[in-house]
């Protein structure tokens, strides 16, 4: 079920300090009863937990940790299910006219689990930890432009930025940038969130009890929550079907139809921003040749990939990282497959060696995806070979090291966030080595442009630049597939992320609890 798109204008007004109402018009409509019931025990079976996990947000790297994080802590701002900005710990914000000085006002009524009242020092302490160069935090790129943070009284925080950043509030929604109290160890599992950490066994379970004084009055419906680590996809499914858990994430697309047809379970399909990329090292032959790059983009039938590899649970990509579900998705025209042109381009480029694609199942169905590419290439006589790699060590040994490989991105709330973490010339995760002066110029222009239509024009040109020049194939945007027992209510699609933007614990309720 596709979700309602939010207009560009509304999206922007949220960023500029006129927060939208916390009630999202018509976006979340639960099936069946809409009357929220309190109570019950919610058990969620989740992927990607490890015995090495920590509760310290600086050390977060997995979806499991972020779901735990959103159960006990909050951000300054929240991204709603249609991608809009919602005030969370910050009740309002404003900037100066050139978007380099931002002032966030904190809510008055918020206390941490141990009784301390939320103040600006907690915010500065929490965010500062990510900005240390040696922290290794995944939240670091979003704070790179922050020169200084200072408090203006206990309830106001001022950010001074290095360059104009019109959508800076969105940056603060990243799952690493949770606010923890300045007077406790950051891995204590104490925050301002809906549930108090009762028990945490890394790689096994996190358990929480309802924060009776939670400041979001319409959230935190269930009494207790268990977030169970079930890394194996089939094991998650079995746990759901046998009633051992109520909700699971990352359902395999192959079995999803069976859940849709089962009346004891519900499948929630979200059209999102997560996508698979095929980055080529643009300074390595044969990928240094633009003809080769274009040929590889033309070779494949994207719709066939979505249908065969992902069982239809996805949207075709246009070789740039902005999802068709995003309000800034450009209507520049979808690239369609042209194997004949691809072949003649490869011949003209004089490619005589086999082209090697490195793949791993750390990307959902990655090996199958690569092999489908191979099949499409073989059909027209192009020698494309797939090298399989184990999941272990893929990101450090293969990704952005081998000349051509597969990668997975979760997408970002705004195009400039996505572009600045992975496509700007100096981006830390620039996986192709692409450098475009025009693109970098447009990115900085977008930072100072507040007019929604002008921003659309800018992002449109940037999408076109990535599609045509950058050495990456982006064939598919993957749907988030969550599933639940039918007694779970309020689980709806979200463009932002899986499981209601990872805030499943505080948003759902149990029928008959």
């Amino acid at each position: 079920m596709p979700i309602r798109r939010i207009s560009r204008r509304a999206l922007l007004s949220g960023a500029l300090g006129i927060p939208l109402s916390t009630i999202i018009p018509g976006a979340v409509k639960a099936q069946g009863s809409n009357i929220r019931t309190r109570g019950g025990h919610l058990r969620v079976g989740l992927n990607a937990g490890s015995a090495t996990d920590s509760l310290d947000p600086v050390r977060f790297y997995s979806s499991y940790q972020s779901i735990v994080g959103y159960s006990f802590a909050n951000n300054l701002v929240e991204i709603g299910d249609t991608g809009e900005l919602i005030p969370e710990l910050a009740e309002s914000w404003e900037s100066d006219t050139n978007f380099m000085r931002w002032k966030f006002r904190l809510r008055e009524d918020v206390t941490f689990h141990h009784g301390k009242s939320l103040s600006s020092e907690d915010v500065i302490y929490s965010l500062q930890r990510h900005m240390q160069p040696e922290s290794g935090s995944g939240g670091q790129p979003y704070l790179r432009d922050v020169i200084e943070m200072r408090s203006d009284g206990p309830k106001e925080v001022i950010f001074l930025l290095r360059r104009p950043q019109v959508s800076f509030p969105y940056f603060l929604s990243d799952y690493h940038l949770l606010i923890t109290p300045a007077d406790l160890s950051p891995d204590a599992g104490v925050g301002t969130g809906a549930y108090l950490t009762e028990r945490f066994e890394p790689g096994v379970v996190w358990e929480g009890r309802r924060n009776t004084g939670y400041w979001k009055s319409d959230r935190a419906n269930v009494d207790t929550v268990s977030l169970l680590v079930i890394n194996e996809s089939l094991a998650r499914l079995a746990a759901l079907r046998s009633g051992s858990v109520d909700v699971i994430n990352q359902v395999d697309p192959g079995v999803a139809p069976a859940l849709e047809n089962d009346n004891t379970t519900q499948l929630v399909q979200s059209r999102g921003r997560s996508h698979v990329t095929f980055p080529m090292q643009m300074h390595v032959q044969p990928f240094a040749n633009p003809q080769v790059r274009t040929a590889l983009k033309l070779l494949f039938d994207r719709q066939a990939i979505v249908d065969q590899v992902y069982n239809g649970y996805g949207q075709i990509g246009n070789d740039h990282p902005i999802s068709p579900a995003d309000p800034f998705y450009s209507e520049i025209g979808q690239r369609s497959p042209d194997p004949d042109l691809a072949l003649s381009l490869l011949r003209r480029a004089g490619v005589d060696q086999p082209i090697v694609l490195h793949a791993s199942d750390i990307i959902p169905r990655g090996i199958q995806l690569a092999e489908t590419f191979q099949a499409h290439a073989t059909r027209i006589g192009v020698d494309l070979r797939v090298r399989r790699h184990p999941q272990d060590g893929y990101w450090s040994n293969v990704w952005a090291r081998e000349p051509w490989c597969l990668a997975l991105w979760s997408g970002r709330p705004t195009p400039e966030m996505m572009f600045s973490v992975a496509y700007a010339s100096n981006a830390s995760w620039n996986e192709t080595g692409w450098e475009s002066e025009r693109f970098d110029f447009l990115l900085s222009e977008a930072g100072r442009e507040s007019n929604a239509d002008t921003r659309y024009e800018i992002f449109s040109e940037m999408q076109e630049l990535v599609r045509d020049d950058c050495g990456t194939v982006i064939p598919v945007f993957l749907d988030w597939l969550d599933a639940a027992r039918s007694r779970v209510r309020g689980l709806a699609p979200s463009i932002h992320d899986e499981l209601l933007g990872k805030r499943v614990a505080e948003k759902v309720w149990l029928e008959g609890a």
């Binding site: 025990h41 058990r43 079976g45 490890s50 015995a51 090495t52 996990d53 920590s54 790297y61 160069p133 040696e134 922290s135 290794g136 935090s137 995944g138 670091q140 790129p141 066994e201 890394p202 790689g203 096994v204 379970v205 207790t224 268990s226 169970l228 680590v229 079930i230 890394n231 194996e232 089939l234 094991a235 079995a238 746990a239 079907r241 046998s242 009633g243 051992s244 858990v245 272990d392 060590g393 990101w395 450090s396 040994n397 990704w399 830390s428 995760w429």
Partner: protein, 326 residues
């Protein structure tokens, strides 16, 4: 106990120690040549060269290998396995907690598997060459051929999803399907994984035990007993079983060791937080102290169980000391 037996014991103990030292060296070398760097693994995709270098230094990863090996072994000898590099938690405590869980799963699997396989082996051996033997041996061969995860999912499908008798998750979850009170509620989640592991053990144990029984039944002393008119249960209990104990002990030791070390796949299928899962999680993060400790503990289990099997053999096999004495 005779001097001969003592010498035999000392000999076994000494070789066990040598094996353990050799294994520790192997483990260390293996973790050394594991591709990938702890600092990179901890920092992930956000790693900058400066952050990696700083972290490597903080972790002591820049020290020479021999130095680190001796450091490690020195610690192990006094029971100090160090701290986890990723979480800073005490490795000994981490491993002990998980070892208990894995041991209870393996123990339960053995409790299920041994009576089943030994009695099946007796029936098969006593009816050797007849249809019953073919059926039992065929079944054992079949369970040996089917991978554990397939057996596990089949059991889940039938007993958790359709019948709802047992939970599909082996960890105890409050409010999960089929949880009662007390001892039974502790055991219940373990049933399906233990049966899965047990079935794999049955195939090995039963075939080995059957061969041993067939062998015994052809021994002259059994023939002698038969001539004396000993028949049926008495023949089996008084003449076959004592002769069988040494080989069953050896099979049991190997089976238990296999169940301890090989439970990892079953642990994944049933989301059971055992030692195998701990090992896998820390290999992925290149958290070497935990990996080394897990591997060493599993190796020590193997050696210890084999040693116990030797002891049993010594107690029940009158021929052994002479054989050692030669």
């Amino acid at each position: 106990m005779s001097a001969l037996s003592l010498r035999f014991l000392a000999c076994r103990l000494w070789s066990a120690l040598v094996v353990l030292v050799g294994v520790s060296a192997l483990i260390f070398v293996a973790t050394e040549i594991l591709p990938g760097d702890i600092a990179v693994a901890i920092l992930g995709r956000a790693a900058t060269p400066e952050a990696v270098a700083a972290l490597r230094e903080a972790l002591g990863a820049d020290q020479p290998a021999l130095h680190r090996y001796l450091d490690w072994i020195g610690g192990v000898l006094v029971g100090d396995f160090g701290q986890s590099l990723t979480t800073g938690r005490d490795v000994a405590r981490l491993v002990t907690a998980r070892l208990e869980l894995t041991a209870s799963l393996a123990g339960m699997a053995v409790v299920i598997a041994v009576p089943l396989s030994v009695s099946a082996a007796f029936v098969a051996a006593l009816y050797r060459g007849r249809p019953l033997d073919t059926i039992l041996s065929g079944f054992a061969l079949l369970t040996a051929c089917i991978p554990e995860f397939f057996i596990g999912y089949c059991l889940i499908l039938v007993f958790a999803v359709h019948l709802g008798w047992f939970p599909s998750l082996a960890m105890t979850v409050p409010g999960a399907a089929g949880t009662g009170d007390g001892f039974l509620s502790e055991i219940e989640p373990l049933v399906l994984p233990a049966v899965t592991l047990g079935l794999v053990l049955v195939s090995h144990t039963m075939r080995l035990a059957r061969a041993a029984i067939c062998d015994l039944l052809e021994q002259p002393f059994i023939e002698m007993a038969r001539f004396k008119g000993v028949r049926g249960a008495r023949l089996i209990l008084w003449h076959v079983v004592p002769g069988l104990l040494p080989s069953v002990a050896a099979v049991l030791a190997l089976g238990l060791a296999y169940a301890l070390a090989g439970a990892v796949i079953v642990e994944v299928v049933f989301a059971y937080p055992g030692l195998g899962q701990l090992l896998v999680d820390h290999v992925l993060k290149r958290d070497v102290p935990v990996v080394q400790a897990c591997a060493l503990v599993l190796a020590a289990c193997y050696v210890l169980l084999n040693f116990l099997a030797d002891l049993t053999a010594l107690r029940f096999d009158p021929r052994l000391p002479e054989r050692v004495a030669i």
